[in-house]
């Protein structure tokens, strides 16, 4: 679960990492109220997850309750790369001398958290990494040993962090590491980590991505979900614990794909593309799914108006073919989806029983994935 900047900064502040003074507003009136309480040179920032909001006009300045109106009105409701800014963060402006970079993420290869730092922070750090890899310092922390100050000193030295802020840097890196584990994050990133004119380090931005599996330990973050601009179908799927993704795509000639197992669904999407089509809806019913789950999956995928054909690909292991078939028939009976826009491939456990259920409902299953993909694409192209 990715957090908006203001949510990330709330976590930073609790962890003792310095952030600019600021408050979030959802309306122009709230923005005016904030500026009335704290009339000072401020920056107004669109709260979106996508990058590049500055170029898109999502960052503006103001100093008084009067001149916040225009920026707030402009940004609230603005769409940036398909994402609607529903909130703005109003923060005091800082006098920044240098922009550093600091992040911690999960390094799959070493199976460890990796701390990444650079003295060349800001928008172009990824470019720096590609062109000047020596300007990027990394340290893979053994989680059993944990963070010790020498790690921060070593990174700071390697990344050429200015000596004058070394102590602060080592401290912030330690707090960021503690926060990373405390909240179960996949990523915590401060970019830029600003050096102000008076020599203080301040987290000028905050990107936090929480491990969804870790949220069982953090029910307190669930309330932040509503802030996230997911597609409504994704929200609906999540509410019933279904693994569904609404993918971008042209939308015409689209195939919705349902399968058991993320790998199989991805493989099926590959097959759809190989057959000349495009999959825009990904739905994994998981292992051992009951009829009810299948029915929900069909309901959600067919609710996407872009979908012109539905391809259900099941390879039964612990998932039973007859359960899937029953769910499918129930979904079609209770819904408006037409059988002739459906392709089913069913094999593995209880395959025979499943096929019988389908045939009784007038549905014939195909034999192979390739065959099914070809047929689904043909249906989608008919429109």
């Amino acid at each position: 679960m990715r957090l908006l900047e203001y949510q990330g900064k709330e976590l930073f502040a609790k962890a003792g990492i310095p952030v600019p003074r600021g408050r979030v507003a959802a309306t122009v009136d709230e923005a005016v109220e904030i500026m009335r309480e704290h009339p000072r040179p401020s920056v107004v920032k669109a709260q979106v997850l996508v990058g590049g909001r500055g170029k898109a006009g999502g960052v503006k300045f103001c100093s008084t309750p009067e001149d916040v109106v225009e920026p707030a009105r402009a940004i609230l409701g603005m769409t940036i790369k398909g994402e609607v800014a529903r909130r703005i963060l109003i923060e005091e402006r800082m006098d920044i001398r240098q922009e550093l970079y600091l992040s911690i993420t999960v390094d799959r290869a070493s199976k460890r958290p990796i701390i990444i730092a650079s003295a060349m922070g800001g928008m172009d750090v990824e470019e720096v990494a590609a062109t000047h890899p020596e300007a990027i310092a990394t340290f893979r922390v053994n989680p059993a040993a944990g963070y010790w100050p020498y790690i921060g000193r070593r990174i700071a030295k390697q990344a050429a962090i200015p000596g004058s802020v070394m102590g602060q840097f080592v401290d912030i890196a330690g707090k960021l590491y503690a926060l990373f584990f405390e909240v179960g994050a996949m990523l915590v990133e401060i970019n830029p980590l600003a050096v102000t004119r008076d020599g203080a380090l301040v987290a000028s931005d905050a990107k936090v991505d929480l491990d969804d599996n870790g949220l069982i330990r953090h029910p307190e973050f669930e309330s932040w979900r509503t802030d996230l601009p997911d597609h409504p179908l994704e929200q609906r799927a999540r509410s019933i614990n279904l693994n569904y993704a609404y993918l971008s795509g042209r939308g015409d000639e689209s195939v919705g794909v349902i399968g058991n197992g993320a790998g199989l669904v991805m493989g099926t999407m590959d097959a759809v593309r190989a057959a000349g089509g495009e999959a825009t809806d990904f739905c994994d019913i998981g292992g051992g799914a009951k009829a009810e789950v299948v029915r929900n999956a069909v309901d959600i995928v067919t609710a996407d108006p872009r979908v012109k054909a539905l391809f259900i690909n099941i390879f039964g292991g612990i998932t039973r073919g007859d359960e899937v078939a029953r769910g499918l028939v129930a979904a079609l009976d209770g819904g408006t989806w037409r059988k002739d826009k459906l392709v089913v491939r069913l094999t593995g456990t209880n395959e025979r029983e499943g096929r019988a259920v389908l045939e009784a409902a007038g549905i014939t299953a195909v034999e192979t994935m390739s065959e099914g993909a070809a047929r689904a694409v043909a249906i989608a192209k008919q429109g």
Binding site: A129, P143, I216, M266, G348
Partner: protein
């Protein structure tokens, strides 16, 4: 021969009194796996469907001599179950559980003792066809033979194995390593084992977008640490790039991790990469020729 498990492997089931644990214990036993018993804290001394239940892994190991365990406990307790297995004397731990917090796994993997192998979590387990199934795969699609398989995917693997078996190509051992960010056993671990295994004459590697496990395997092939013929498939080639956030991922993996990068890394070291699972049997046949 085979890798990791064979007919002699004695297996305990952690979480055996749960629905999943019991059903799969029965399926494994039916396949021929030597299930020595199971563990459920507080239910030691009971018997479920002929399986002896113990309170702790240490107890189960000392009383049954098992050296393999398979874990079916719920996500919040699974990392604890893994470490209990290691502490209790288990040498091969197969964790099926899906949805374990990544940070639980970061900690558990970091303290797993040397000499203990973890497969998974969030994996279908492994099978040495005709001998032992320690997992949740549909055993009937597998057939004994001389092709090894290692995969990050579950159901996609069944699909591929089904095609291999129908094409008359049997398998030595098939390992599903799981798709979570932090897993115990990666491709290169399995390649090392398959290299030593005399029965295995060729290998099917089923990768997926994300991470650099496929690139690492390619590097191992390039350095001749793995010398047998390999056929690969990379799942998710048509998947859109996820909504990316932050620069850290890009800094860590650079240009690696995409389907494109994986396919190229493998092809560069002479590994044919199938466009579709349907092409795999033909590529394997050629590799064995």
């Amino acid at each position: 021969m085979s890798i990791y498990i064979d007919r002699a492997s004695r297996v305990i089931v952690q979480g055996i009194t749960g629905r999943e644990g019991l059903a799969n214990a029965q399926r494994m036993r039916a396949y021929g796996t030597a299930i020595a018993g199971g563990v459920t804290p507080g239910k030691g001394g009971q018997t479920v469907d002929g399986f002896a239940v113990f309170d702790t892994v240490a107890d189960a190991v000392s009383k049954t001599g098992a050296t393999v365990s398979i874990i079916f406990v719920p996500p919040p307790f699974a990392a604890d179950a893994i470490l209990e297995a290691a502490d209790g004397g288990i040498r091969l731990i197969v964790c099926i559980t899906e949805g374990i917090p990544v940070h639980d796994m970061l900690k558990a993997v970091a303290v797993l003792p040397d000499g203990v192998r973890l497969i998974g979590p969030n994996c279908p387990g492994l099978i040495t066809p005709g001998q032992s199934l320690v997992g949740i795969m549909p055993g009937h699609v597998f057939a004994p033979g001389n092709v090894g398989l290692v995969s990050r995917s579950g159901t996609l693997t069944y699909e591929i194995v089904d095609q291999l078996t129908r094409a008359g190509i049997g398998q030595s051992t098939c390992v599903g390593i799981g798709g979570d960010p932090i897993i115990g056993t990666v491709f290169t671990d399995c390649l090392r084992e398959f290299e030593r295994d005399e029965q295995t004459k060729a290998l099917v590697l089923v990768g997926e977008i994300g991470g650099t496990d496929e690139e690492d395997a390619a590097a191992m092939i390039e350095s001749r640490e793995f010398t047998k013929p390999v056929v690969a498939f990379i799942g998710g080639r048509s998947a859109p790039e996820g909504k990316r956030m932050g620069h850290a991922g890009a800094i860590v993996s650079g240009t690696r991790g995409t389907a494109q990068a994986k396919v190229e890394a493998l092809q560069r070291v002479g590994v044919p990469v199938a466009d579709s699972p349907a092409h795999i049997p033909e590529l394997v046949r050629r590799a064995l020729a």
